[in-house]
């Protein structure tokens, strides 16, 4: 029987035919090109237009950068070296490097001080930015503002020490009484700090001599990119607590406090930053006591902090509103009072939701620090538009300088936004 079966069927495949390779146009680079760049005639045209645009930009910019001259002392020397060829005079950056970074008045033998302050900033900021690091490092973060202040401004060491002592005393009082009664601890802490500062201010002139370790630098001598960094870091860190307070105030049940917060937030968000800077430069001094002189840097910090606090408050309000009502009710049913509920349940979740928005505000504020050049402070843009472009040596070197400023800001802002995206992925605890 089996014999018959074999004969009746003409052909039986004994082995599977090996799969033939896909056609060339369906594999590798060609397929990728076909799918991603030349799928339809319309898309092909778009690709060609894009290629042409890239070519135009690169053919203009690349020779200019590659032919760049880095070692001349003035524009005319640079032009001689180039001999009519296309090329950038990057030597303006090397020659004016210190002015671009520190401004033109900061004593040049003291540049190590802001450098050290910047170097110390990284370990100070690290435990705040990366949660995996040991929490003990936060002690250094808390000390950093005083160290940085003393490094950059110099002068008697007693001033930052006194400020630190006030904060320590306030913190100690809060630790002692805050557990039992938040309000008592909070206001008691403020009172203790104020008492320490007041006592210290009475004693200080007696003890403070001129035997200063670091030479005092007045804040009008600060400038360059250092000024942008200082304004950005100071204002963002000061405006975070203020913004949280404003957001909580706006959600409060107390009509008076809610009203104050709403008026403040809407007013600040309704006017451009530049008008607030005008207030800082021409108007704010009218509101201080007649004999006092508050320097421009501090006035600008006050106004910029108010500005970003209002925006951060709105971001956090969005985070608070996004929390389900059940979270508030759960906190109430556990018997937590308002400060406990906020500190332990509501704010950790609300702040987590608001992180991208807060980082956006921080990036925006850092970019907006360039506006201080309008009220004649010599930040990076102010230095470029003022002393450098006005000098006889470098009149007309626009592209190299503006390109450098744009590059610096791009590096910092892009870095921050990448960090925020990393943090968002890191904090995503929901399952998707």
């Amino acid at each position: 029987m089996s014999d018959q079966t074999t004969n009746s069927i003409a052909f039986v495949a004994k082995s599977t035919i090996p799969a033939s390779p896909p056609p060339a146009r369906e594999t590798g680079v060609i397929r990728w090109l076909r799918v991603n760049l030349f799928a339809t005639p319309g898309i092909s045209i778009l690709t060609l237009v894009a290629l042409w645009a890239i070519y135009t930009v690169l053919s203009g910019v690349l020779p200019w950068i590659l032919n760049g001259v880095w070692t001349t002392d003035s524009l005319s020397e640079c032009r001689e070296v180039l001999q009519g060829k296309v090329g950038a005079c990057f030597s303006v950056l090397t020659e004016r490097w210190n002015q671009l970074l520190y401004g033109f008045k900061y004593p040049s033998d003291q540049y190590w001080r802001p450098n050290l302050a910047l170097l110390l900033f990284f370990p100070a900021a690290a435990p705040v930015l990366f949660f995996d690091l040991p929490r003990k490092l936060l002690i250094f973060t808390a000390l950093y503002p005083f160290v940085a202040f003393w490094l950059i401004w110099g002068g008697p060491v007693s001033a930052p020490l006194l400020a630190l002592a006030g904060f320590v005393a306030g913190g100690a009082v809060f630790q002692r009484f805050g557990k039992a009664n938040f309000a008592l601890g909070f206001f008691g802490g403020i009172a203790a700090a104020v008492v320490i500062w007041w006592l210290g201010a009475l004693l200080l002139p007696a003890s403070g001599g001129d035997n200063t370790l670091l030479r005092q630098v007045p804040s009008r001598d600060l400038g360059g990119f250092m000024l942008n960094m200082m304004l950005g870091i100071t204002c963002v860190s000061l405006s975070l607590p203020l913004g949280i307070a404003l957001a909580l105030g706006r959600k409060s049940d107390m009509p008076l406090i809610k009203g104050i917060c709403i008026v403040f937030i809407e007013f600040v968000r309704g006017v451009p930053l530049i008008t607030l800077l005008f207030v800082a430069s021409v108007m704010l001094s009218y509101f201080f006591p007649p004999e006092s002189t508050v320097d421009l840097f501090l006035r600008v910090v006050i106004m910029m902090t108010m500005f970003s606090a209002a925006y951060i408050a709105e971001v956090i309000r969005g985070g608070l509103a996004a929390l389900p009502k059940g979270q508030y009710e759960a906190a109430d049913s556990l018997g937590l009072d308002y400060p406990q509920a906020m500190r332990l349940i509501i704010l950790p979740q609300a702040l987590k939701i608001s992180i991208p928005g807060i980082v956006n505000v921080a990036v925006g504020l850092f970019k907006d620090t360039t506006l201080v050049s309008v009220i004649s402070m010599f930040d990076l843009v102010g230095m470029i538009r003022g002393p450098i472009l006005a000098s006889a040596d470098w009149k007309g070197v626009y592209w190299e300088l503006l390109g450098f400023a744009a590059f610096l800001f791009f590096i910092v802002c892009y870095g921050i936004s990448q960090y925020s995206q990393w943090l968002e992925r890191r904090l995503a605890t929901d399952h998707r």
């Binding site: 968000r269 530049i274 007649p290 907006d368 744009a406 800001f409 892009y414």
Partner: protein, 410 residues
């Protein structure tokens, strides 16, 4: 034998002010009110003392005195003999002009970039990503300065247009691109129906409004026909006629003519001049804010679930119609609120005009007028009042629009 008794009636004790929730909020508000009053009193007192020491007072009398400075870019009549109030008005109009222009171009740019960012074309979507990242991460002030520098450094001076063999020539002999600004032809009527030019232009706008009404009627009629017969009549030609006929008729009757810019003396005369600062500010604000709007548009489109696209494709709609009829109308609800805040940002960022010398309200009232009169408090307060009003008006208007397109459910 009642075991239940009323809780003991306790009198009011001072500790209840802080421990009893009934009184606590009252306590805090009283404290806040006292602190606020003290702060206002302290600041006000300082202000009065400082003003007295400086021999100043708060007065707006300076507004009627002659300003004494010139403004190149202006929408209304103004000479250096006009009052400070008139200069402020010129500034207000200039602010509104640049904000309006930049809002339109930023929206167009942003929508195009946002849609292309999601394109299937790998190269184009990456290119748009580069555009968005570069423009978002560099301060707008630097962009304004860069574009102003491009204007002044790379475009020819008016003098280059002179002579037998000029270095630069006018486009179609009617547009001149110079480093002082762009000159375009100015349309005007030789035999207008009304004496004043403004009324004639109003007539043209009324004509366009009429065309719009007629096109709407045609659309309604076509829809009614489609619902009755199942076939939509072709209305393209009718719509074209409705737009063109009244316009052409008005132009012919009133004798439209063009005033061309001409090189006279050291500069171009006649035509419309769009000054360099205006162009720099307009362009910089557009591309900067366009990058933000592109991200909003992308987020809005991605917020629409993929099922919507698939459902539309299953109905047999083409790619373009899926976008226009299904995705964008839904995405708009997500896009509009952040778009409003971008418009507000444009209005506020237009105050950076002061960096390139465009005479907006910040440069006139907050700049030259402030410096000439020394009336810092009055000028800055009025400046803030203007921006506050503009911001509130824009957000109010946009909120009304937002409410009208909101999803109406239950």
């Amino acid at each position: 034998m009642s075991t239940l008794s009323d809780p003991p009636k306790l009198g009011f004790r001072p500790s209840m002010l802080i421990n009893d929730t009934r009184y606590r909020s009252l306590t805090f508000q009283v404290i806040a009110a006292i602190v606020l009053a003290l702060a206002i009193w302290y600041l006000g007192n300082n202000l009065l003392q400082n003003l007295k020491a400086a021999g100043l007072n708060i007065s707006y009398g300076f507004f009627s005195t002659p300003a004494g400075y010139d403004i190149n870019q202006r929408l209304v009549e103004y000479t250096s003999q006009s009052s400070h109030a008139r200069a402020a008005l010129v500034g207000v109009l200039n602010t509104l002009l640049v904000a309006f222009l930049a809002c339109i171009t930023a929206t167009v740019l942003g929508v195009i970039a946002g849609v292309l960012r999601l394109s299937n074309n790998w190269l184009v979507s990456k290119l748009m990503m580069v555009y968005v990242e570069i423009f978002r991460n560099i301060p707008v002030l630097i962009w304004i300065i860069i574009i102003f520098t491009i204007m002044t450094a790379s475009l020819p001076a008016p003098n280059d247009f002179r002579g037998e063999d000029p270095q630069a020539s006018m486009l179609f002999s009617s547009f001149a691109f110079t480093n002082r600004g762009i000159y375009t032809p100015l349309p005007f009527f030789t035999s207008g129906i009304f004496a004043s030019a403004a009324l004639n232009w109003l007539l043209v706008i009324a004509g366009l409004g009429l065309s719009w009404l007629v096109t709407r009627r045609i659309g309604h009629w076509a829809t009614a026909r489609q619902e009755a017969t199942g076939l939509r009549p072709k209305t393209g030609l009718w719509v074209l006629a409705a737009w063109l006929l009244p316009l052409v008729l008005l132009m012919l009757v009133m004798g439209l003519s063009w005033e061309l810019p001409e090189l006279k003396g050291f500069n171009f005369q006649g035509g419309i001049k769009i000054g360099g600062p205006l162009i720099a500010l307009w362009f910089a604000l557009s591309i900067y804010t366009g990058a933000f709007i592109a991200e909003n548009v992308r987020a809005g489109i991605q917020a629409i679930s993929k099922g919507q696209t698939e459902a539309a494709a299953a109905l047999g709609l083409r790619q373009g119609r899926i976008m226009n009829l299904v995705i964008l109308p839904q995405a708009l609800r997500v896009i509009i609120p952040p778009l409003i805040s971008q418009y507000l940002n444009i209005t506020k960022n237009s105050s950076l005009a002061i960096a390139v010398g465009y005479a907006d309200i910040t440069a006139t009232l907050g700049g030259i007028t402030l410096n000439q009169t020394g009336r810092a408090i009055e000028c800055v307060l009025l400046l803030m009042l203007f921006y506050l009003t503009a911001s509130l008006l824009i957000s109010a208007g946009m909120n009304i629009y937002n409410a009208s397109i909101k999803l109406k459910e239950r």
